[in-house]
């Protein structure tokens, strides 16, 4: 039997081995094994992200335990309404992302592109609202180092109010940075989908980008109650 005749037709010479369907690399026996490998690699990366955010959350928790009342005072300067709206937007973007992956499964390139663009649009809205909050914070003098107006008469206690805002800007800033990076990745994938690079057989990049995007959503799901809902009921007791 001729070797050449048994070679499948392929578009990507670097990623194809003899007897393989396109998109399955040499060292994988089939598509399922290749996809599991990609998924595990992505989860391993996400585990390092859990460590990154987890350590900051742990630091925050310790300080909140020790300076609870100052943290309540600080937290009640945040806009719970804007935080809630942003959570709705981010959950919506995760839904759009899930639909993009679903369209990948159906091999519908047009829908992949549309849902990815919707995801990016919602992501941009989130970042815009976040930026608006930062501007409000600046006007109200809630940014440590840059512009700070004391919130408590005792300077020692006021330091702890400031500490909350140090955490607030590091945590939300790092999260927003992840959003921006994610939107860059999604834009590239949307372009590839538009160029019809994905099929129902192979849409792994869409799925991997989805894992990342959902993870950034999970981080926000914890950030929201951590920063905005320390004890919002207390603001009515003054």
């Amino acid at each position: 039997m001729s070797q050449i005749a048994s070679q499948p037709e392929h578009h990507d010479p670097g990623a194809v081995g003899a007897g393989h369907t396109p998109h399955v690399a040499h060292h994988f026996s089939d598509m399922a094994q290749q996809k599991e490998s990609a998924t595990l690699g992505m989860w391993l990366f996400l585990a390092t992200e859990v460590m990154l955010f987890g350590a900051i959350f742990a630091c925050y928790t310790v300080y909140r335990y020790q300076y609870y009342h100052e943290f309540v005072t600080a937290s009640n300067h945040l806009w719970v309404s804007l935080g809630t709206i942003n959570t709705v937007i981010l959950l919506g973007s995760s839904f759009a992302m899930a639909m993009a992956v679903h369209s990948g499964h159906d091999g519908d390139s047009k829908k992949i592109t549309l849902y990815l663009l919707l995801t990016i649009l919602l992501g941009l809205t989130f970042v815009a609202i976040k930026f608006t909050e930062y501007v409000i914070d600046y006007k109200e003098g809630l940014i440590p180092v840059l512009k700070w107006e004391p919130r408590l008469a005792d300077p020692h206690q006021d330091q702890h109010v400031k500490l909350f805002f140090v955490f607030y800007f590091i945590m939300t800033g790092l999260h927003a940075l992840h959003m921006v990076a994610g939107m860059g990745v999604l834009a590239v994938i949307a372009w590839l989908a538009h160029r019809r690079k994905f099929t129902s057989q192979w849409y792994t990049p869409v799925e991997m980008a989805g894992l990342y995007w959902h993870f950034v959503d999970v981080v926000w799901v914890f950030l929201f109650p951590t920063l905005y809902l320390v004890n919002p009921a207390l603001r009515f007791h003054h």
Partner: protein
């Protein structure tokens, strides 16, 4: 490749569930609790973070497809969170019990924040 998938209907239900839990957690946070009812406040905080945890699990299982993934993926995806829980458990078991040791210096830090003196605490 024949693979399991999640239906659009399930995605809609998951999104609905996530939004419901969000409004629930905001509502709970606004329940007025008198400062002297510290235990109830702690309970509400605990419930609030349990809701956040539930939301995370919903996203991870359905949006991130772990529900329909291989056992190895289950291990990889849970490992990070399991270690995170261990870190929190050990850290908090230290900080939250320091007050139990009479005269331990850090209780001064906490009771300074509440306006109580260390002396008040010892007499309680």
């Amino acid at each position: 490749m024949s693979e399991a998938t999640v239906s659009v209907r399930t995605y809609v239900y998951v999104l609905g569930g996530l939004l419901l839990l969000l409004f629930l957690t905001v509502g709970l946070a606004f329940i007025p609790v008198r400062p002297e009812h510290e235990r109830l406040r702690d309970l509400l905080t605990f419930v609030g973070f349990s809701i956040a945890g539930t939301k995370a699990v919903l996203i991870i299982l359905w949006f991130m497809h772990v529900k329909i993934s291989t056992p190895l993926t289950w291990i990889f995806s849970s490992a990070a969170f399991v270690w995170l829980i261990i870190m929190f458990a050990l850290t908090l078991s230290d900080y939250t019990t320091r007050d139990h040791i009479r005269g331990y210096p850090t209780q001064h830090l906490k009771y300074q924040a509440t306006g109580q003196s260390t002396q008040d605490y010892r007499e309680r």
